[in-house]
C-alpha cells in the first residue's frame, strides 16, 4: 500500500471525517475517566496520600480530553470545509506518555496493595 498523494481531495466527506475524529476523542476521554474511577476504587483501602493520584490523574485527563475535543471540533470542521491540507495538531505523544505513566502507577499501586494484604 502506498501513501496517498496530496492531489486526492474529496471534500464531500469532510464533515463526516471531522465528526468521526471528534467522536474518537470523546470515546478516548471517557475511557480515561472510567480508568480513573477504577484506579480510585483500587486505591480505596490505602492510606498513603499519593494512592489516589493515578485515579485523579485519569479523571482529570478524561475531562481535559473531552473539553479539548469539544474546542477542537469546530476548528477541525472549518479546516476541512476550507480544504486546508493540515489538520489542527494535538499532543498525541502526551496521550501515549500519560497511558504509560498510568500503567506504571497502577503497577506500583497494586503491588503496594498486595504487599499490605
Amino acid at each position: 500500500m502506498t501513501a496517498p498523494g496530496p492531489d486526492r481531495e474529496h471534500p464531500a466527506d469532510a464533515p463526516d471525517v471531522s465528526e468521526r475524529t471528534y467522536l474518537a476523542w470523546q470515546r478516548t476521554g471517557l475511557s480515561f475517566a472510567a480508568l480513573g474511577a477504577l484506579l480510585l476504587h483500587a486505591a480505596g483501602g490505602m492510606h498513603h496520600p499519593l494512592a489516589s493520584l493515578p485515579g485523579i490523574a485519569g479523571l482529570v485527563a478524561g475531562g481535559v480530553i473531552l473539553l479539548r475535543a469539544l474546542v477542537r471540533y469546530p476548528r477541525l470542521a472549518a479546516a476541512a470545509r476550507a480544504r486546508r491540507r493540515a489538520a489542527p495538531p494535538v499532543p498525541l505523544a502526551g496521550v501515549a506518555v500519560l497511558v504509560v505513566a498510568l500503567g506504571l502507577a497502577a503497577l506500583a499501586l497494586l503491588i503496594s496493595v498486595a504487599s499490605q494484604g
Partner: protein, 134 residues
C-alpha cells in the same frame, strides 16, 4: 540504522516529537492525517481497556485456587497495555512520516502482539478456572 545516520538522524524516526515529525516532507490530505490519528486513538483505548482489565482482575475477581494466579494475569495485562501504548505512538509516528514523505505505509507489529498476548492471557485464565472447578 546506517541508512538513518546517512540521512542525518541520530534517533529513530518515531522517537521524534510530533512537531519535528510534522516538519518532514509535505502536509498530506487532512483526511489521511485524521485517519492515522483515529487509528492511534483506537490503540490507546485498547491499551486503556487492557489496563482497566488488569486492575479489575486483581481488585475485583475472586481468588483462583492457584496462588498468585490472579496477580499474574492482572500484571500481564497491565504490562501488555504499556507495550500497546508505546507501540501505538511508534506506529502513528512511522505512518505520519510515510504519509508526509509519500512512502509506503509501514506494517504494524501491534496486531500480532496483542493477538498473542490476549490469547495467552485467556488460555491461562481458562486453565486457572478449570483447575479451580476440578
Amino acid at each position: 540504522m546506517s541508512e538513518r545516520r546517512a540521512e542525518g538522524r541520530s534517533w529513530p524516526g518515531w522517537w521524534r516529537p510530533p512537531k519535528a515529525i510534522r516538519s518532514v516532507g509535505e502536509d498530506p490530505d487532512y483526511r489521511f492525517t485524521l485517519a492515522n490519528e483515529r487509528t492511534f486513538l483506537a490503540w490507546i483505548r485498547t491499551s486503556l481497556a487492557l489496563l482497566a482489565g488488569g486492575v479489575a482482575v486483581i481488585q475485583l475477581v475472586p481468588n483462583f485456587s492457584v496462588p498468585a494466579g490472579r496477580h499474574a494475569l492482572g500484571f500481564t495485562l497491565i504490562v501488555l497495555s504499556i507495550v500497546v501504548a508505546t507501540g501505538s505512538y511508534r506506529h502513528w509516528a512511522e505512518s505520519e512520516m510515510a504519509l508526509r514523505l509519500r512512502r509506503p505505509l509501514p506494517p504494524s507489529l501491534l496486531p500480532p502482539i496483542i493477538g498473542a498476548g490476549v490469547a495467552v492471557v485467556s488460555l491461562v485464565a481458562l486453565i486457572l478456572v478449570a483447575v479451580g472447578a476440578a
